[in-house]
Symmetry: C2
């Protein structure tokens, strides 16, 4: 573990315990057993550290869910996989999830707020797409109802798992939520919120070709030793500049690079970029 990773890991512990504001750089360096100066060798500021932590977690969070969902062929199991991916990650990274759950927006840097907003809308879009696939027979307004319901269930159970720290059977929780979603889809009729809100939910973030290439390059950096990943990434970059490969090949290449979080994230953003392109 590099010193940078050490700082991030220990910071997450402290942030989860005391909060972002109330944790001082001093405390962080003490827990890491390094000097204050050393901290500033790895991060320009406390804000940058917070940004790194959130960005790190959220990108791998989104990428994980996306992978879980995209690898599920059976439409009837999509929501289950989605939920299971969410809760597993939450349980795995309980400390981070606590920060995320509790610290909503206050006193965060503007850029960070915007980034968080982007991630939230990515998450919303993922959940929405799951609902649209698994409950395709529903009208838009009732899909929105389902969205709110499932979101609520997730919030409630997250708090249960994280705050109360009680042992929970994730599979059972997911099955219970899926059951409830199913019966709501089947029997509910009253819509609570205008379906116009659907648009506001998952505002597409701007993704530039350059941003995707940067992500691919990072993936290459982190997988220097793995020729399969590197070659796949280079081919993908080429195809971004001059599209000629068939979709099936691209999907294969994307699967090749999904070896770690950085690769999963690059793959996710690649697809988003492509989808946006083809939509135009």
């Amino acid at each position: 573990m590099t010193k940078k990773q050490l700082i991030m890991a220990k910071s997450i512990e402290l942030f989860a315990e005391y909060g972002l504001e109330a944790t001082s750089v001093q405390q962080i360096t003490e827990r890491c057993g390094i000097s204050k100066g050393a901290f500033y060798l790895y991060f320009k500021s406390k804000d940058e550290l917070i940004f790194s932590i959130i960005d790190d977690f959220m990108s791998s969070f989104i990428a994980n869910i996306e992978q879980a969902v995209s690898s599920q062929e059976d439409r009837g199991k999509l929501l289950y996989d989605f939920l299971y991916a969410v809760f597993t990650k939450f349980e795995e990274q309980a400390d981070f999830a606590k920060i995320f759950l509790k610290e909503h927006s206050f006193s965060l840097n503007r850029d960070l707020l915007q980034t968080l907003k982007n991630y939230r809308s990515m998450f919303n879009r993922l959940l929405l797409s799951v609902i649209q696939k698994q409950y395709s027979e529903l009208k838009a307004d009732m899909q929105l109802e389902l969205f709110f319901s499932i979101n609520g269930f997730m919030k409630g159970y997250s708090e249960f798992i994280l705050v109360d720290q009680l042992p929970a059977d994730l599979e059972r929780i997911c099955r219970a939520i899926v059951e409830k979603a199913g019966i709501i889809a089947r029997y509910a009729h009253i819509s609570s919120i205008s379906e116009d809100y659907l648009e506001a939910l998952g505002v597409e973030p701007e993704i530039s070709k350059e941003a995707v290439i940067t992500l691919l390059k990072e993936t290459v950096q982190e997988n220097k030793h793995d020729p399969l990943v590197c070659e796949s990434a280079f081919l993908l970059m080429e195809d971004l500049e001059k599209p000629q490969l068939k979709d099936v090949f691209i999907e294969g290449l994307l699967n090749n690079i999904r070896k770690n979080n950085s690769g999963k994230w690059a793959a996710y953003m690649y697809r988003q970029y492509k989808m946006k392109k083809s939509g135009e």
Copy 2:
């Protein structure tokens, strides 16, 4: 508006915008147009201010809900009334609700945390009792499921109303939630969480006779001019010391004192105390 109320009102605005920690006493006094010294004439410390704000809101919040629920004869409408009372209060006091929604626990005074926990469990008990009455045919484990579901719905919609600040039709939202609760009660079978958790949800706080009397005295203080309230409060105090009145009279006296928040709160705590007594 007294200066104390002014400080509280302006503080709520600032806390909702920047958070409890990030708002300084300086900022508060500036917004109020008073000096720093003046602040400390009305509050011993910043902590005491925060405590006052939370205590003020929460006691009236709980008391309001309790009144709404206890005055509803039709069991089928209990949940609706409960939800409507919750959301109305949230919309009314959006700034406070934001604080409450966002600021979960970090770096708060121990006493304050305990107080918050007490209020939360009062809230939980209220919701549970509503569920137990309106869905009395359900087994305990499915009542717990309902509790989690409704809690989730409330969280989701609260965020929608407060954070996104969109115009919302409260009645429609409440009807939609009640419908979903009904559907879940009717068709759901998978329980996600052991029903043992029911006990942990609404741990009864300790209520002493003295505490209730103090509340009654405060009510008298705030309603000096109203002989009906004063007389009722005194009779209630007497009956606490030497119980002799029939329940129906006590209920009447309690209704008499429910003229303002302080009275509602005293009435709520009186009943809680009585219920605990009779349960022993």
